[in-house]
Subunit: 408 residues, 2 copies
């Protein structure tokens, strides 16, 4: 017994449970095996469910390796896989397939059986392709999940029985760790899908609502993009509490900021002449109607504030609550600016949109009156560092998963 | 070395990675320890992040146990926790706290230090409360995640050094398995939250859209409930492929079946007199407008079919595509029936709703003409087994997470 490699491998096997990326896990195990057992190379065939075949992951040993690493794979019906799984192959099964033993089998036991002889030849060819001296199967219940294979030892000596027995145990540990890593990868993928689904759904609905008014097409998505850009710029200057959650809520709120318009009669919404007081009151109820729609969803509490207060103004002259200064939640201050900016630069039935430069100028003028000063500063910062915008946009697009193309 | 318990424990430790419920995992480990080491009882203190304290999980041994199981807990500042974590306690630290050794320490080393003496007394009291003869800490990095404690051996003999050393290794395995189980529990919880969020959002939006028409209030939610009831009843009679996914898509489709009405002018939508041909054409475009809204969301492909075809009729006389028979996707056939049934029994501006019995009679009459026969059969089955409905409703409510109260 060589306590040193034994211990190293045991530690490696035990740590596998903490590694939740299957690829990293396999690399770690293979590297440990190569270093501890002093083999020229080692590899592992891992079952790929989607492809229904075993894909080879190889760790290069100290002496290089001829295996076509990366995209090499064997079918489920290949001799090597069948050796461990096919019951009709009537060979004296051992837990470990040893190329040396294989030669012995052939000449003394299966002379009469041409089929088996063919199988053995194919198997030996397969082993030689990977320069595998020993193959250790890893089963999960009855499924062959992986096959670990070892190249020659650097000193060309045989593997000891002890070493191989230990590798056998290791293989089953690795299989369990792999199963675990796959599960965690799956769960994380599902979380990502569900999140994307939520944003996609919200975005689809938001744009279907704005579709009622041809003058606002694309408005919601652009506002969401501006909001995220402002949030990233702000974050460089001040700490934003619960950043990840804030960002998700900001996205939802930006997409839903006008959702309350669903409750406003079309006759008022689409009026092309100026509104009277009564009509203006009805229009101005849209932030509250919107907040009401989100009211029962606990997770959107912060988003709700964005929707509810996005028409408040920094000096208290906004609606519906005449909130003042920092009493207006940050999320709402950001939407307010983004919303106004986009409205300014877009054509409307009764006026043409102004240029970006002119709009920026107007916004700067009402900093501290209509808009929160720190939000305006962040916005100006983005505008004036235009050179860096493509990069910022890339970052945003990764977050704004539904965005086709950034508009800023 | 006693290979038997050694092996059992090793197997238990290795299997822990496959157990993704922390509670089950702890129970398994404790049961194995009690059986293999023949102790009267064993327990584990596990750190509870939310409460910032260690909660005791106890497995009853063969001789019963006096520990107040279930809700017993120790603070993070308790002597036992401090023994392993507080560096200011200047005791000869060993990896295992052994009550026998504790007594020895007290009398020969710390006589002069009253503070330490008090600490030791409190520690001994704490150990005696749990009848703990040995305590083995489980660390994750620098955090004390759990403390395993063992009662007396049944034969009252001492633990061997070998046994305790092995338990030490086991403790760290268990900690890793626990961390893993917690992670998986967390991920699953997050998936549930996100799913609920999606359905809540969809339901909130659907009901905000129907809020435009006071005569259809509650319609969407009722239709979703009927749809699920029909799906469950159908499933008892025939195999529904991809059941879980089907159910989720059915929920989305049922909630969104009229989402396309968002694109129909209010003047037509709310008309209280009969519509002319032109207006009818506009109204009849709502399934396609709805399908268009969901068009970019890959995961809702099946839901989209439900929205798109929910006005098709079994004999081909429906719209927009005049699909016939089984060419109408099941999801759409279910919504068609649920939608019509709810419309029949609800008051409208121009007529009163009919009784449930009368509506059922009407539906039976057009089985095979307007509606798919197997869907009607499933629906009748529900209606006629009213005695069992509360149970079905409970089942539905669990799925229809946003439902306040089932309406069927």
């Amino acid at each position: 017994m060589k306590p040193e490699y034994h211990k190293k491998l045991q530690i490696a096997a035990r740590q596998t449970i903490l590694i939740h990326k299957a690829d990293t896990l396999v690399k770690l195990i293979l590297r440990t095996i190569i270093t501890s057992l002093k083999v020229k190379h080692a590899g592992i065939f891992i079952y790929d469910k989607a492809k229904d075949e075993y894909v080879v992951k190889v760790s290069r040993g100290h002496y290089g390796l001829k295996v076509p690493a990366g995209f090499a794979k064997i079918r489920r019906g290949s001799p090597l896989a069948r050796y461990f799984t096919d019951k009709s192959i009537n060979l004296p099964k051992e837990h470990i397939l040893w190329s040396r033993v294989l030669s012995r089998i052939k000449y003394c036991k299966t002379k009469k059986d041409a089929k088996i002889e063919n199988f053995l030849e194919a198997l030996k060819l397969e082993l030689s392709l990977y320069e595998a001296k020993a193959c250790i199967p890893g089963f999960f219940r009855k499924d062959l999940v992986g096959i670990l294979f070892l190249g020659e030892k650097r000193n060309r000596k045989k593997f000891s029985e002890e070493e191989l027995r230990f590798l056998s145990v290791l293989a089953s540990d690795v299989v369990m760790a792999l199963k675990n890593a796959w599960l965690i990868e799956d769960l994380n993928r599902q979380i990502d899908i569900n999140k994307r689904l939520l944003f996609q759904t919200v975005a689809a609905l938001a744009s279907s609502i704005e579709a009622k008014d041809k003058y606002t097409i694309g408005h919601t998505e652009r506002v969401a993009n501006y909001c995220l850009a402002i949030a990233y710029a702000l974050r460089k200057r001040e700490k934003i509490e619960g950043w990840e959650k804030f960002l998700e809520n900001l996205k939802i709120a930006a997409l839903f900021h006008d959702i309350g318009k669903i409750g406003i009669p079309e006759s008022i919404l689409n009026k092309e002449v100026a509104l009277n007081d009564e009509e203006r009151k009805v229009i101005q109820s849209h932030p509250l109607i919107g907040a009401n729609i989100l009211n029962h969803i606990e997770e959107f509490r912060q988003a709700l504030e964005g929707v509810k207060y996005h028409h408040e103004k920094y000096d208290g002259s906004g609606y519906p609550y005449h909130l003042k200064g920092r009493k207006i939640p940050l999320i709402a201050s950001i939407i307010a600016l983004a919303d106004t900016f986009d409205a300014m630069i877009t054509d409307r039935p009764y006026r043409r949109g102004m240029s970006q430069g002119k709009a920026i100028e107007e916004i700067r003028k009402v900093k501290g009156q209509q808009f929160a000063p720190h939000v305006v500063d962040a916005f100006l910062k983005i505008y004036h560092s235009k050179g860096k915008l493509p990069e910022l946009n890339k970052q945003i697009s990764r977050h704004l998963l539904f965005a086709k193309e950034s508009t800023f």
